[in-house]
Symmetry: C2
Subunit: 300 residues, 2 copies
């Protein structure tokens, strides 16, 4: 099916200036990035990251590109092009590929990403959508996990917890917001929340050799976390603390820059949830004493 | 297993200057290419492209990177960095990942490719190794399938046919040769042989809007094709004509450039197998008349 599907796909993919030669040669020829090239890859597997017995294949396609866009956003970068590899169950392969691409092309159009190339195989196994996303940082350095400094404010975008109720399939990667923030302030460190707020925050702190004093009541709990808590036996806070796949950003910057960001309206809520400490670990203040917290989340 | 395996992997991956930030952040930060960015992606699936009941997992890793290197060679490009996505069967996932990476790291070291990042999941299914390879063309334009011109000589590297006897697992991607040829002559069009000599030659001709008159006796038949023919019921020529996974290059260039190439010694044989015609199709001359030939190979 590969050749005929690729012919169909060439017709469906809009040409964008960043890709000089797209689908149909041995490799893609892509305009060079302005500065560093930013590259990430992530896969979505049926039965692991989504469930085709409950969800549409288009959702798998959308999610596969959105989670990569979230990684690109966490670098403060602009996404430019994608390579899409599909491993398709033999049965109904062409129909599934078409459905998956509906979601991929929708997300690609929303974020101006060109489909530069890919690979398609059929096999005895579940759908696997593996996407590599390429982008660049138009000005300044990419945001790393390792740049947090003592006394930085720690901000989080949106609301967290309970994404398993469905939000995880069609997340809003914070690409546009990240790029506006990059132009406005000096972000010291960033990470996207894929495995849980506390776990990913702990990773950022570990990479930076710092810790954080959290303002627990400030943590923006999503309505989904509250709804999920009614059945799960966990509290809404526990869901916000440890659920994965929020695809929100954790950002650190000077308190002065944070105050500037917090004073403005954005496409989503931005909340300060803590302050970076010189000592490692996650902490909250009880009376006058710091008490250590345990990061929790989805360990692969 | 992902976090601990990534920690192990960080220790195993040599740092190369082309990757500023590798495994361990949300995305990789890669030095920008000198001119166009060349990107390709290909996957190896257990039961489709190799068979873990017969072959070592390290071979799957080696093959996954080698087939991408072959695509990069077919563009006349220099490989620089790779993103590696593994979907691992749940049982023995860590051991399999380690074995696969032995092959990947061996090929990466041989071709000076930096492992810039990747993704790892476990699931109920066979091993899938999906690799995206990034490179660039240091000088001049990348080679496309579409550049062949009437009267071009058609050259092929190495010997073709019968790779299924084992050669397909550890092919020699013609990266070094391609880069020496790029410096020496003006290659008009190129493709690598992944689905069969005649089928891939037909694709090159179709992309260029030309055809080819083949010198059939000149086609360099591999000893494996002769060996395979003893059991298969096909002739050695039929294997050379239609077997896939040779990972040799088909190149077109002016006859004068071809004569220059053919007069020199290279790391492998280079053979002229035909001349580009203005009319489309694959042809051979019988007496004074052109007779049309049918391309055959592995249709995905």
């Amino acid at each position: 099916m590969e050749q005929s599907f690729l012919a169909y796909l060439r017709g469906r993919c809009r040409s964008l200036p960043q890709v000089a030669v797209g689908i149909g040669d041995d490799a893609a020829v892509i305009q060079p990035p302005q500065a560093n090239l930013i590259a990430c890859t992530d896969q979505i597997i049926d039965g692991v990251d989504f469930d085709s017995s409950e969800h549409a294949y288009a959702d798998a396609g959308y999610k596969a590109i959105a989670i990569n866009l979230s990684d690109i956003a966490a670098m403060g970068a602009v996404p430019k092009s994608a390579l899409v590899t599909l491993a398709l169950p033999k049965q109904n392969a062409t129909r599934i590929a078409g459905d998956v691409y509906e979601g991929i092309l929708q997300a690609a159009a929303e974020f101006q990403v060109a489909i530069a190339g890919g690979d398609i195989s059929t096999y005895d196994g579940p759908l696997n959508v593996s996407i590599t996303l390429l982008g660049d940082v138009p000005a300044g350095d990419p945001w790393l996990r390792s740049g947090a400094k003592e006394n930085d404010a720690v901000l989080v975008t949106g609301f967290v917890g309970g994404s398993i109720l469905g939000r995880h399939l069609r997340p809003t990667p914070r690409v546009d917001l990240a790029n506006r923030l990059r132009e406005m302030v000096d972000v010291h460190a960033a990470i996207d929340i894929s495995d849980g707020l506390s776990l990913d925050l702990d990773r950022l702190c570990a990479a930076s050799g710092v810790g954080v004093e959290l303002n627990i009541p400030a943590i923006p709990i999503h309505d989904d976390a509250i709804m999920l808590a009614e059945k799960s036996g966990c509290t809404p806070f526990e869901h916000a603390w440890s659920d994965g796949e929020d695809f929100e950003l954790i950002l650190t910057m000077s308190q002065a820059d944070a105050d500037k960001v917090l004073a403005m309206d954005h496409e989503c809520e931005i909340t300060q949830i803590g302050t970076i400490l010189g000592r490692t670990g996650l902490w909250k203040r009880v009376a006058a004493k710091l008490v250590r917290l345990s990061p929790q989340g989805y360990i692969h």
